[in-house]
Symmetry: C3
Subunit: 135 residues, 3 copies
């Protein structure tokens, strides 16, 4: 198991950042021809999503609709200084981890899927942890 860590600064409160190329570069550098790539964000107000990047409006739709389902001004009991209960609930729905195949030394995602770090309570410096194994 090889561990790697990326630091991704975010610039808005809510933002989807395509991190596919950065993760794929780590996979390529690892020299692992076939295996698994585990991704984990060690946060509770950020998450991961897999979706299309070709039309950037798709991930804007995902985050906008998530904000309609879990609105910032909803009824929540968690009232820390950040007033970010919506971000916690949204993160629980999206999840903070994913597992991908590695083949021919690269991420093997299919034609359309791309990996997005979803900032739900930024801007902050976020981490993406990557574990590469031969499976």
């Amino acid at each position: 198991m090889q561990f790697h860590e990326l630091t991704i600064p975010t610039s808005e409160r809510r933002q989807a950042i395509d991190v596919t190329d950065r993760i794929d570069a780590v996979v390529a550098d690892s020299g692992t021809a076939e295996g698994l790539c585990h991704i984990y964000v060690p946060h509770v107000t950020a998450a991961l999503a897999v979706n299309e990047a070709k039309d950037p409006l798709v991930m804007i739709d995902v985050l906008d609709h998530l904000a309609r389902l879990v609105p910032a001004d909803g009824e929540y009991r968690h009232r820390c200084q950040d007033d970010n209960a919506d971000a916690h609930v949204q993160a629980a729905l999206l999840g903070n981890q994913r597992t991908f195949f590695i083949r021919n030394g690269r991420l093997w995602l299919g034609t359309y899927p791309r990996i997005f770090l979803c900032e739900l309570d930024g801007p902050r410096r976020r981490q993406v942890w990557i574990g590469i194994s031969r499976g």
Copy 2:
């Protein structure tokens, strides 16, 4: 790591297809007594779910309720020729990957859980990628 690929044709726009037996047959054929089975659908308008199959109405409820939460006629910006923004958002909520245990040479799911391919924008030919490892 052993890789396998299933092709699953879907017949409706929205449909849950129980793929457990097909995946379990791949696991049995692999000769892996104990390990992990990683499932990944290389799509952005299809997803995976784990739920009960005994009453087929359960997965109908899951897809119907998901369509109430993320309606086809909602406010989305992604307007491709398929007009399928709802499917992208729903896929982000369900996720496109799962990991299961293998024990005694078979999927080890428990009494009720079954694995469903969720078509959200069909009919199409969908793929299910399977990776089997000894863990």
Copy 3:
């Protein structure tokens, strides 16, 4: 691959139980310095979530908001003796499995993330299956 099983009795219909320390003890006992910890609940009306434990109101918000999105008195077709269609839909949204890193012989989660068993149709005796691999 080492398999372990925890039994967690729940005491309410809907309840989030922090199982991090119990899983971490299994990891520590396994003698695995670096690897992966796969968690799976073999149920269709219980789920897993990763979120903050410092303020217990966060997970109360998650379950309460999920009940607003997927209400007990919603329109569902599944009407078993338990009248628990809402729990099935909620479980599909949260998911019943997660994968975590192991480093230095312990779960490697980051500062805030903790692992919660989410009871959605209790009280019942629930199981948490744990698979530990070197990756």
